[in-house]
């Protein structure tokens, strides 16, 4: 039994970590600017394809793992500055429609450039094998992904809670007017915050390509679960997104094992239950301060 359940649990946690990653990126952008970035998945896919192209042109996987997210940040910030910034002051529905449009355009562009079907993108040989954990064999790639995602989350938390820039970001989420009144250029905060979200999406994109398969819809497939995760964890709570992501991943993997047919609906059931008990999510504080 253990040999059956344990790998599923591990895989579920890794899937959940991806959901959490995407959810955190979404929350960062939504908390500060009110923008619900429906193109978030598209940026994730873009990073995957950029890494694929870099590797097929002869760069090493490791280099692509760094460079592709950086390029995604550049593309993302250009789009933010040119298209999304003018909408920050307007009703959130405008930026939601814009980013929805962007995601549709992006999907077609990816189809045109890289073809409608998935492309093979595999991690280097060193990540190929498995590591014996005694009671089970665990694929090295998955372990690597888990370590990178965890390290990135720790870095993000350090950035937000230990640097003065992070303090400003956390403050700006609570009151953008006052942060200007304290002498900070809010546009710089918007830009860095968006870039941060893009970096998370980019990193997740490259890592997901090797695991979930790189196709034009890869990122968008992660978007819906990410929203569910953000709601379960509590909108705006970083820690909540992590817990929510791992919970959803776990629930999906365990359900797949016992009632495969229900593995898609389980996250919605989980969300409904959480919202019934705690309407603002597990760690959400929204509504607390009006």
């Amino acid at each position: 039994m253990l040999s059956n359940v344990a790998p599923s649990v591990f895989n579920g946690l890794i899937l959940g970590a991806f959901y959490a990653f995407v959810a955190i990126g979404l929350s960062l952008i939504m908390n500060l600017t009110g923008t619900i970035n429906l193109a978030h998945g598209s940026f994730l896919t873009l990073a995957g394809y950029l890494a694929f192209t870099l590797v097929s042109k002869g760069t090493s996987f490791w280099f692509a793992l760094i460079l592709a997210p950086l390029l995604t940040v550049v593309v993302g910030v250009v789009i933010e500055r040119l298209l999304i910034v003018p909408l920050y002051k307007r009703d959130p529905i405008f930026s939601l429609l814009l980013t929805f449009g962007l995601s549709l355009i992006a999907e077609e562009v990816y189809r045109l450039i890289w073809g409608p079907n998935g492309v093979p993108f595999s991690a280097p040989g060193i990540l190929g094998g498995g590591i014996s954990l005694g009671f089970m064999q665990f694929p090295t790639l998955r372990l690597f992904i888990a370590v990178v995602l965890a390290a990135a989350m720790v870095l993000l938390a350090l950035f937000l809670w230990r640097t003065r820039f992070g303090l400003r970001l956390r403050a700006a989420i609570q009151d953008t007017e006052m942060i200007s009144a304290m002498g900070t250029n809010i546009q710089v905060l918007y830009m860095v915050n968006f870039a941060l979200g893009m970096a998370l999406a980019g990193l997740a994109g490259v890592l997901a390509s090797g695991l979930l398969g790189l196709s034009p819809t890869m990122g968008n497939a992660l978007l819906m679960p990410a929203f569910v995760v953000a709601i379960i964890g509590g909108m705006g709570s970083l820690f909540g997104s992590i817990v929510g992501g791992l919970l959803v991943g776990l629930a999906i993997s365990v359900t797949t094992l016992f009632i495969p047919a229900a593995n898609e609906v389980i996250m919605y059931i989980l969300m409904a239950v959480v919202l019934l008990i705690r309407p603002r999510g597990l760690f959400g504080t929204e509504g607390l301060f009006g």
Binding site: F159, R162, T163, R164, F165, L167, R168, R170, A171, Q174, D175, E177, M178, I179, S180, A181, M182, G183, T184, N185, I186, V188, T285, L288, F289
Partner: protein, 256 residues
């Protein structure tokens, strides 16, 4: 005559067809306590926002030490030496009192956007400055509490301390007494007087309570429906027939 620190020349602002501020001019001298008073809807806050850069006026000019700052973004004005508070306390509720002040204190160190952690010596300096600011408004004992847990009056004081944390020359306070009980109003009034007397700052504040304005300010501008009704010293204002008729009840004046 002291030097003009902040000047508004024929400042106007309209929203659609509504004229919120109509050609208002004020000259705030260095070292004065200046009040803008008027009933609700008189355009006080709009005028205030035009001075602090939260609105760009449709007409007229704003000058700071003679420099035209009419279209300068608000955050740059902070670096010139202007800081402001808001009518509803604008604080960061989930951060502690200490962290709220840290933001302003750090912004004064030209390394605000660097990511490295402050050295031990630097941190000591910052902490000393924060203690000094909290001492000024008497909030030292609440230093590590989230601001959301503070009383309304203490939140106001925290916001005033925040506006001081950026080392201003002039502090602009938007209805600092709004929604406060009598005892708390007294407390804020004492702090405003201290800003001037002890710290040597120039103060501009917006208020609708005539008693407060007459006892604190040395210069007053009365606004009514967006326009200037009167301007002068407290005695000139309280003796002005126009002000009496348009804004004050005789009864209010008798109490003063």
């Amino acid at each position: 005559m002291a030097e003009a620190l902040l000047e508004a020349k024929n400042v106007s602002k309209h929203f659609g067809g509504v004229v919120a501020v109509n050609s208002v001019s004020v000259t705030i001298e260095q070292g004065s306590i200046y009040a803008v008073i008027g009933p609700n809807g008189a355009g006080k806050t709009t005028f205030f926002n035009a001075l602090s850069g939260f609105y760009i006026p449709d007409g007229g000019q704003v000058l700071y030490k003679g420099q035209d700052i009419t279209t300068m973004p608000n955050w740059q004005r902070v670096q010139l030496g202007m800081s402001r508070t808001f009518q509803t306390p604008s604080i960061f509720p989930e951060l502690t009192v200490y962290e709220n002040l840290l933001i302003g204190v750090q912004s004064q160190q030209k390394i605000a956007f660097k990511l490295r952690l402050p050295s031990a010596a630097r941190k000591k300096e910052i902490d000393a400055r924060i203690d000094e600011l909290l001492g000024f408004v008497n909030l030292v004992h609440l230093k590590d509490r989230p601001v959301a847990e503070l009383s309304h009056g203490s939140q106001r004081l925290c916001e005033i301390a925040m506006s001081l944390s950026v080392d201003p020359t002039i502090v602009l306070l938007d209805e600092p007494m709004a929604g406060l009980a009598e005892a708390e109003t007294e407390r804020i009034m004492r702090v405003i007087r201290d800003l001037h007397d002890r710290l040597g700052l120039t103060v501009l504040f917006v208020e609708h309570n005539m008693r407060v304005v007459l006892s604190l300010a040395d210069h007053i501008t009365v606004l009514d429906r967006g326009a200037m009704l009167a301007q002068g010293t407290p005695s000139e204002i309280s003796n002005s027939q126009t002000v009496r008729e348009a804004y004050l009840g005789q009864e209010v004046l008798n109490r003063v």
